[in-house]
């Protein structure tokens, strides 16, 4: 009780109240505009929060993070375009409800489900905080190294079908973190004798380039679309009543969200996928899913809103961010000399509880704001894409330039902006780069200090938590290899099914023999051997 009272004491300030209001309203607005998203907003606002108190700055950023998904449901339901990436599943059942003339019901249901998810997650974490405070000190250098490695591996394997390039991009992030003066032996690494590289590549510069500038370039290169928004009539409270009719789906989805949020690198998409699948499998009307099912909408929205509060657990307890947004927040902690990790739970528990309470209040504020202001808010969906691009480009300048007043930083950010633009065009993930940068730094420091205390490599996992983490890493890798192997097998089977020629081994060898004997085969082999001779001649 004393803990909660001292946490309330931290929050009872006018600037914190203003930050809560600005964060919640700003987050909803940002979420409602397709093409902006919380990552862009947080990246731009990061340097502005450096001059604020830690609790004020973090409340603004948490507000944007926690409330953007509420706002993201508006365009997902009304115009079939998710406001933020995690609202993609909301379009499955939200838009069909709008199409059959029930936009108000869909929106109020989405708000209510989001509210329940958010509040459930925060309450769970407040109750869970004392346990965390006991477990967190058991994490030494080795455990934190293994947890960071696990987070990085989970982020990579989460990109199904793109795990190789996601892994390569995570390695790029680790490499970017190594550039500059190495702090232990004081040697230069990949500075090419350039002074501006001596201090390393700044994380915020990379974040602004990869998230904000790249999004500006995407929007500026895009075409404006004509948006038709359905008019909303009547009150927005019916969703609150309807939610109580589906207590099982709501509770299970919120639990999935809270659980998945806590695991680094997993996040909203997995939580939503698991909740949606569960809701569909246990529903009395599974055929309605994807055609405007209220249970589907509840599962998607509850799960994604339960994640932000839970995602703060690995960040606060271990100092390990599980995804790009919490990685950005980590830099705010460092700027204010607040080091997240086991020490924070032991020494500043009231600060941690204050953050959770801020999230709780934020959910109430956002729900109240949305229930009364949705009709006015819908208009932001109409902002043209290209103009939005102009706005983001202008705001990105504030973010990058105000860091160190350096034109070189802006040049690096512009370079990463172009790189991020290319990644977006190719549907390749940028998040592994950011996590590679953050977790790479943590891994380097923790491995060095961890290995200094062990005699043999196997001693590294001789403590219970480190052994459990190591086992989980092995299991994750094994299950990923198994999945890749199954995918390959499926692919082979599908390829064989579409082939017109016989698939028997004898026939295959016979075809190979024929190709060797035919003139065309001889000609191709001759050409190849000629090329090989030329290549050998070069050396």
């Amino acid at each position: 009780m004393d803990l909660i009272l001292s946490a309330i004491d931290i929050l009872m300030r006018w600037d914190v109240a203003l930050a809560l209001l600005a964060g919640s309203v700003g987050g909803v607005l940002i979420g409602a505009i397709p093409g902006v998203g919380p990552a862009v907003a947080i990246a731009i606002l990061l340097p502005a929060t450096f001059s604020m108190d830690p609790i004020v700055g973090l409340t603004v950023l948490l507000g944007i993070y926690g409330s953007s998904m509420y706002g993201g449901a508006i365009p997902a339901i009304l115009i079939n375009t998710p406001g933020t990436a995690v609202n993609a599943l909301t379009t499955y059942d939200g838009y069909p409800m709008t199409a059959r003339g029930e936009p108000r019901r869909a929106l109020s249901l989405a708000y209510s489900a989001s509210f329940f998810g958010g509040v459930f997650s925060v309450v769970c974490l407040i109750l869970f905080a004392p346990v965390l405070a006991k477990v967190a000190p058991m994490f030494g250098s080795r455990e934190i190294f293994l947890a960071a490695l696990l987070g990085l591996i989970l982020v990579v394997v989460a990109h199904r079908g793109q795990a190789l390039i996601a892994g390569a991009l995570a390695c790029l992030g680790i490499f970017l973190n190594t550039i500059g003066m190495e702090p232990v032996k004081y040697t230069q690494r990949y500075t090419f004798n350039q002074d501006f590289l001596g201090g390393g590549v700044n994380l915020i510069v990379v974040v602004l380039g990869l998230f904000a500038l790249s999004q500006a370039f995407v929007l500026l290169m895009d075409e404006d679309e004509k948006v038709h928004v359905t008019k909303l009539r009547g009150g927005m409270f019916q969703g609150l009543r309807e939610l109580t009719r589906h207590p099982r789906v709501t509770a299970v989805s919120a639990s999935f969200g809270a659980l998945m949020g806590m695991i680094p690198g997993v996040g909203e998409f997995t939580a939503q996928f698991m909740s949606y699948t569960y809701a569909q499998k246990t529903s009395k009307r599974p055929q309605d899913f994807g055609k405007g099912s209220s249970e589907g909408l509840i599962a998607a929205e509850t799960a994604n809103n339960a994640v932000p509060a839970a995602a703060m657990v690995p960040l606060l307890a271990l100092g390990i961010p599980g995804e790009a947004l919490t990685a950005m927040m980590l830099s705010v902690f460092y700027v204010h000399n607040v080091v997240p990790g086991p020490g924070l739970f032991q020494n500043d528990m009231d600060f941690v509880v204050a953050l959770y309470l801020a999230l709780l209040i934020l959910n109430v504020l956002v729900l109240g704001f949305l229930l009364f202001a949705t009709r006015a808010l819908v208009q932001v969906v109409k902002i043209p894409n290209r103009f939005l691009g102009v706005c983001i480009l202008t705001l990105s300048f504030v973010g990058v330039y105000s860091l160190r007043n350096s034109a070189t930083d802006c040049l690096i950010a512009a370079g990463f902006g172009l790189f991020g633009f290319i990644l977006k065009r190719l549907s390749l993930p940028a998040v592994p780069i950011i996590l590679g940068m953050v977790l790479g730094g943590i891994m380097e420091v923790k491995l060095r200090s961890g290995m200094a205390r062990v005699k043999e490599p196997l001693d590294f996992i001789n403590r219970p938590i480190s052994f459990i983490l190591f086992t989980i890493i092995i299991l994750v890798l094994a299950s990923h290899i198994l999945r890749v192997w199954r995918d390959r097998k499926e692919l082979k089977e599908a390829e064989w099914q579409t082939k017109t020629a016989s698939t028997s081994f004898g026939k295959l060898m016979s075809r190979r023999k024929n190709s060797f004997l035919k003139d065309r085969g001889k000609e191709v082999r001759g050409r190849h051997s000629k090329l090989l001779r030329r290549l050998k001649g070069l050396f």
Partner: protein, 176 residues
């Protein structure tokens, strides 16, 4: 005809081959420079070597980049790859607009440059009506007042402000 392997590929085809090739080439080049760009310290353990993490990361980039390249369902560049590379080049125009803005702010000042930059770029994007020009100017003014005036983010005063008379000079340097 699209093969099963192509159909199952995540993402568009255009540009993938060019990206994978450039990524792999740069990774190999950086790895080749590791001896020159990092140091091997005597009497230090492997994990404490300054070269260890660059080697791990660049090794990972080369290995995983090569596997990604090998796994691509395409081996030859098509005209769509070149078209995509041209699109990447076209986006550099906006990077130049951004850099122009960056270089002009310390010379002319945050407020005047923003008041010109936003409407000019909006005009370049095809918004020429009075309404959109008004919105652009309003947005530019709001950004400067909010960030420099209220939130006091660190954007230094311009060289041009030095020529302003006493009190006005201080006001401009601090708030605009």
């Amino acid at each position: 005809m699209t093969t099963e392997r192509e159909r199952r590929f995540v993402g568009p085809r255009r540009g993938q081959l060019v990206f994978a090739l450039v990524f792999l080439t740069l990774s190999v080049l950086l790895l080749a420079l590791i001896g020159e760009q990092t140091t091997w310290v005597k009497k230090a353990k492997l994990f404490a070597q300054p070269r260890f993490w660059p080697a791990v990361s660049l090794g990972g980039m080369v290995l995983l980049g090569a596997l990604h390249f090998y796994q691509l369902p395409w081996r030859r560049a098509s005209r769509y790859d070149l078209w995509e590379a041209r699109q990447w080049g076209r986006s550099a125009e906006y990077a130049l607009w951004f850099m122009g803005y960056v270089f002009l702010v310390p010379l002319i000042g945050y407020l005047p440059v923003t008041l010109v930059f936003v409407p000019l770029l909006a005009r370049r994007m095809g918004y020429r009506g009075k309404f959109m020009m008004g919105i652009s100017l309003g947005f530019a003014l709001m950004v400067v007042v909010l960030f420099k005036g209220i939130l006091a983010v660190k954007i230094p005063g311009a060289l041009l402000y030095e020529d302003l008379p006493g009190a006005l000079r201080n006001f401009f340097i601090l708030y605009l």
